[in-house]
């Protein structure tokens, strides 16, 4: 079994989950509580990776982080290396690809927090930020856990985006699903079967745990 690829996928999934918690929780809060009229545009944008073919998403990300793009050029100037076909580039792509999986359950859970509890906290003199930390986040912890688990699991299995942005470099960008693809291409069906079974078992366990935690995983926060 390609342990190097498995370890790389776990590292990537872990880092993606951390990035998505840092980025996704504030974004989910904004989606759940903002009264802006153009909120629906952001909602659609966040949900886009659910519907876009991974190759299309990967292609755009590749262009966006390439050395000719402002972002890629800036990264190159600061670090002296390039984003495409690197672990860092893969991380950006994974985070974007799994964004809806992190944001949707968290925003749903934020939205489900009883408004009166939030108002009660305000009337007790507790600031908006402290109320978010002390009332909203603890009451939405199941949704946050669900978002984290789904982000991790989704990243573990991704293929198209990884191939477009990261390519197939052993130890750097060759994730578990690309390794399986390689094994099949090389007609090493035994190895492919073994690795696939591992991923199947892992995915099932993750989903079972998620559903045990919270029944409503797919509720989009639409009031």
């Amino acid at each position: 079994m390609d342990w190097q690829a498995i370890w790389l996928s776990i590292r990537l999934a872990f880092c993606t989950t951390v990035v998505l918690l840092v980025v996704g929780v504030p974004l989910a809060a904004w989606l759940a509580f903002s009264g802006r009229r153009w909120r629906f545009l952001v909602e659609a944008l966040v949900a886009l990776p659910l519907f876009l073919p991974p190759t299309v998403l990967g292609f755009y990300i590749l262009l966006a982080i390439g050395p000719r793009s402002p972002l890629g050029a800036l990264y190159g100037r600061v670090t002296g290396s390039m984003l495409p076909f690197s672990f860092q580039g893969l991380l950006i792509a994974s985070a974007l690809y799994s964004l809806p999986f992190a944001v949707q359950p968290v925003a749903g859970a934020f939205h489900a927090v009883d408004r009166k509890l939030v108002e009660a906290s305000w009337c007790l003199g507790v600031s908006r930020m402290a109320t978010f930390r002390r009332v909203i986040v603890p009451l939405a912890r199941q949704g946050i856990a669900t978002g984290a688990i789904l982000s991790f699991a989704h990243t573990m299995g991704e293929f198209g985006v990884v191939l477009m942005v990261g390519g197939n470099i052993a130890g750097v960008t060759r994730t578990i699903s690309i390794s399986i693809y390689d094994q099949v291409q090389a007609l090493r069906y035994d190895a492919a079967l073994e690795t696939s079974l591992l991923l199947l078992g892992f995915s099932f366990v993750v989903l079972a745990v998620t559903y045990a935690l919270q029944r409503r995983v797919w509720i989009w926060p639409m009031n």
């Binding site: 009883d114 305000w122 009337c123």
Partner: protein, 351 residues
């Protein structure tokens, strides 16, 4: 600075309902002000506006000389800055925190322990809100609000979440707690009995406007107009003492007079309520009548309103009677006349 809460606000809701309320609450002399009105009259909206949870379209709110809201000067203080403790109908206790953590949520140093003690919550400290009764939840909510040292308490239908027996039990208790806190309180209710039991002052809200405000007794006894009279429902509210009980009847002493009513097992201080329509008038005390209560009095005023006449009497206590204008004319009732007020025992009810 005037020790007053002055509020003049207008707000149009999406439903088309318009709240246009003027309210002045003298904070020093009245512990509890009741915001009274039928459901849909805008009471809760007004309370939320006072708390800063909703902004009016225009107007001003001034508390002890500080502007809380002023549309002209673009002032709208956040709820955190107003420090008005708000008690929600369902109490809104934080479900992920214990009773003690709820009370301590925003407590100023040492206040939490003090509140836990004075609200008798020590035994419940480690329990979660769902594990305590409705009445206990109310105490926790009040303790939590007071621990944050509010300048004003706002209570939205504080007894409505309780079942009927606990509601009756908590009524007097709630007033006791509010008075003891020494923080002025505004209590929203649509229940007349609750208003009488809890309030010192009362403002009547009908269709989004404050129609009348004054002491509870005053408003009930002298409704400003027919709309207020209809919404408050009863004109005669008489604090009484129970002087005796026999054969299923209670004898009440009101001043020097006695009234009888059905004994429903009440005890302690009694507030007798009599609809003005249930008070008949006679020139002389009738003989051979089934009516138990005949009280001599003097006519103070007679006001004819359409087919009805509203007669105010002085019987040692004020008593209002509504009779037909025709009867008033037939009896030739004039201010200063001596008359006999006749009230069936079944028409005298406890608040």
């Amino acid at each position: 600075m005037a020790d007053e809460l002055i509020c003049r606000v207008r707000k149009r809701l999406r439903s088309g309902f318009e709240l246009s309320a003027e309210l002045a609450v003298p904070l020093a002399e009245s512990a509890v002000t009741v915001l009274f009105g039928p459901s849909g009259s805008g009471k809760t909206t007004l309370l939320r506006i006072l708390a800063g949870l909703e902004d009016p379209d225009e107007g001003t709110i001034e508390f002890r000389g500080t502007a809380w809201f002023d549309s002209a000067r673009r002032i709208a203080l956040a709820p955190q800055k107003r420090r008005a403790g708000f008690l929600f109908q369902e109490y809104a206790l934080f479900p992920h925190l214990t009773v003690a953590q709820n009370v301590g949520f925003a407590a100023a140093g040492g206040r939490a322990a003090e509140m836990m003690k004075s609200f008798d919550l020590a035994d419940l400290a480690a329990r979660y809100p769902r594990e305590v009764s409705g009445g206990q939840q109310q105490r926790v909510a009040l303790a939590r609000a007071l621990a944050a040292q509010p300048v004003l308490l706002l209570l939205d239908e504080p007894l409505s979440a309780l079942d009927a027996p606990s509601r009756l039990r908590m009524r007097a208790g709630l007033r006791g707690m509010l008075v003891a806190s020494r923080i002025p309180a505004i209590v929203v209710t649509h229940d007349r009995a609750e208003a009488i039991a809890i309030g010192d002052r009362m403002a009547v809200l009908v269709d989004g406007g404050v129609r009348q405000s004054g002491s509870v007794q005053e408003v009930l006894r002298h409704p400003a107009d027919a709309v207020v009279a209809a919404s408050v429902g009863v004109e005669n509210v008489l604090p009484a003492e129970i002087a005796g009980r026999e054969h299923g009847l209670l004898t009440l002493r009101i001043g020097a007079q006695h009234l009888q009513c059905i004994d429903r097992g009440e005890s302690g201080p009694f507030v007798a309520c009599i609809h003005a329509e249930d008070v008949a008038l006679s020139r002389d005390a009738p003989e051979g009548s089934s009516v138990r209560n005949r009280v001599a009095g003097r006519v103070v005023s007679v006001v004819v309103e359409g087919p009805l006449a509203r007669v105010e009497l002085d019987c040692g206590f004020p008593l209002v009677s509504v009779i037909t204008a025709q009867s008033a004319a037939d009896l030739r009732i004039q201010p200063g006349d001596g008359v006999c007020a006749i009230v069936k025992a079944t028409a005298v009810r406890s608040a």
